[in-house]
């Protein structure tokens, strides 16, 4: 069969940078709107940490019982902040990715000229934005209702650390999203998220946990993020912050590697 392919006019085709950035922005904006309107995500990620904080930090707060050297209302901000960041990041990335991968939507996007990385960047941006919202709301509650005193600079530092700390869990979410099915995603995330939070001392302060569990906690990424956050308010285990950063970066790289394997496996399935 004779063919007369039409040559492409410009073989060194590239999208101008400004248009690429515009796509990244739109992708993130619509990912945010999608999730904001999805109350199962937006309300539960924000309200669970706040609810715990109100209950254990404000209502059941005995002012004469400091934890880790600071008042309980202060102590619980980094603690539930880490918990909230984990939830926003894991659910923000993994559940969407698992569903969109498993039910064909990702394939529709892949068939378009969308830059593939924009898709993942939007999910990570979403996790970070919701993380920031949770942490800021916790701080506002603590300062206005809980009588927490925190210099503005420290408060800003706390937000910055926790929002940056959303990255390892976004990476973890992408890895999970590539290896769970659309229907089992939420259950799987909860199975990882809740025990991990508990064992890292985010629900019951780490010093009240048995010695063995305190040892185990050193291998868990949320423990390291929480310790970085505690150091801002003068609580925590007072270890070297460098160790915590290293642990989080190492963990992020492992998760990204796993996510990459998943990406390649999927591409292999379609391209193989």
């Amino acid at each position: 069969m004779a063919t007369a392919p039409i040559a492409l006019g410009n073989s060194s085709w590239a999208r101008p940078l400004s248009r690429t950035l515009a796509i990244y922005f739109k992708e993130a904006k619509y990912e945010f709107l999608t999730r904001l309107r999805l109350r199962a995500y937006s309300i539960s990620t924000i309200s669970f940490p706040l609810m715990f904080y109100v209950l254990f930090g404000l209502v059941l707060n005995h002012k004469d019982a400091p934890v880790g050297g600071v008042g309980i209302a202060t102590y619980l901000i980094p603690s539930y902040g880490t918990f909230g960041v984990m939830g926003a990041s894991l659910f923000g990335t993994a559940s969407g990715l698992a569903a969109e991968r498993g039910l064909g939507w990702l394939q529709v996007k892949r068939a378009s000229p969308m830059p593939p990385f924009a898709y993942f960047a939007a999910k990570v941006a979403l996790g970070m934005i919701f993380s920031a919202v949770v942490v800021v709301l916790l701080l506002l509650l603590g300062i206005t209702v809980g009588g927490v005193h925190l210099p503005v600079l420290d408060a800003a530092k706390l937000v910055a650390i926790l929002v940056a700390g959303s990255l390892p869990f976004c990476a973890m979410g992408l890895a999970i999203g590539y290896f769970v099915g659309p229907n089992s995603a939420v259950a799987t995330i909860n199975l990882i998220y809740l025990p991990l939070s508990f064992c890292s001392g985010l629900w019951v302060p780490i010093m009240f946990l048995p010695k063995v569990m305190q040892q185990i906690a050193h291998f868990l990424p949320p423990y390291h993020l929480a310790q970085l956050a505690f150091s801002v308010v003068g609580a925590g285990q007072h270890e070297s912050n460098l160790i915590h950063w290293e642990a989080l970066i190492g963990f992020s790289l492992i998760c990204l590697g796993v996510a990459r394997l998943g990406f390649q496996r999927d591409e292999g399935k379609t391209y193989g």
Binding site: L33, A111, P113, P115
Partner: protein
């Protein structure tokens, strides 16, 4: 019965000479998924400005062919080319629109937001208002996807395929699961696209759909192309027409008439499958003056298709 295939292909060659340039090709493409041969040595091309229907039963390899054209799958052997390039490249994809079968679309985004996002992927997208008009979404542009009916959802997916102003559109089972009314609306929209000079490849297992829309029908079964031609050619070369009538003539006499393929008793009358209706009708009326209740129907692509695929299955 498949001797017709050769003929159809010859006629088709002429159509190609008169048609536009080839813009998308599968050349000796085979695609295996493990032990499953989804496509076997398929040669198939799409010319500029035509509407081709890839027709076949479920599992025939239609979706696989579309995925190959979209660069979502790589052929096991053979080559795929769209606009002279590999569709895996974004520069080729900017000229392609795709409508795929998808189980779930993000439900909390509004129609116009979905379109706005997809439009941004392309260098010269259609204005939003034009996309909305072409896909008939003007009145529901502010609705969230989750609130839409089945037909409206398919039209949104159709809008996403056309919003980038692509030169060629691949529509994989665009009307599957739709009611008759929604299907006709979508057909009308697809026709309008072709009238604007777009090229369309659609897959379908609705024979009526291929008949109603396509300039050219390619019948595929078990990963192989088994017939190709205009809807009329395919019909003419296979099952012919069907006559129903009430007659006192003996069934064996009717069966012996030249040009009769098959005769069945149908309640009080006969159902006669013939290559061409007129000579048989003349003969019947001459032999039985009291013949009544005549009904002549086109055998339809449905029967043509069944004849083609069953012959193919028999040979396999």
């Amino acid at each position: 019965m498949i001797t017709a295939l050769q003929e159809v292909q010859e006629i088709h060659t002429e159509v190609q000479v008169n048609g536009g340039a080839v813009i998308a090709t599968l050349r000796r493409v085979s695609k295996n998924f493990g032990e499953v041969h989804a496509l076997r040595q398929v040669d198939f091309s799409v010319r500029a400005g035509e509407l081709v229907a890839l027709l076949g039963p479920n599992g025939a390899g239609k979706t696989t062919a579309v995925k190959l054209f979209l660069g979502l799958a790589k052929p096991t052997t053979g080559t795929v080319s769209v606009f002279g390039g590999d569709p895996i490249h974004a520069e080729v994809r900017t000229r392609i629109g795709a409508m795929l079968q998808v189980a779930k679309v993000p439900e909390t985004l509004r129609v116009r937001e979905h379109i706005d996002l997809f439009s941004s992927y392309y260098p010269n997208p259609l204005p939003l208002a034009e996309t909305l008009t072409l896909a008939g979404l003007q009145e529901i542009k502010d609705r969230e996807f989750g609130e839409l009916s089945g037909g409206q959802r398919q039209r949104v997916l159709f809008a996403l395929a056309l919003c980038g102003n692509p030169d060629i559109l691949f529509l994989d089972e665009p009307t599957v699961g739709l009611d008759v009314e929604s299907r006709r609306v979508l057909w009308e929209e697809i026709r309008r696209l072709v009238a604007r000079g777009k090229t369309v490849l659609l897959t379908t297992h609705y024979l009526e759909e291929a008949d109603a829309l396509a300039d050219r029908v390619v019948v595929i079964n078990r990963g192989e192309i088994i017939a190709e031609g205009t809807p009329a050619e395919i019909k003419a070369n296979t099952a012919g027409r069907r006559i129903r009538c009430v007659t006192s003539l003996d069934i064996e006499i009717v069966r012996s008439l030249p040009g009769v393929i098959e005769v069945r008793r149908d309640r009080e009358g006969l159902e006669i499958r013939v290559r061409s209706a007129e000579p048989i009708l003349r003969e019947l009326l001459m032999r039985d003056a009291r013949l009544s209740g005549i009904e002549v129907t086109s055998a339809g692509l449905e029967e043509a298709f069944l004849a083609l695929t069953s012959a193919n299955n028999g040979a396999a």
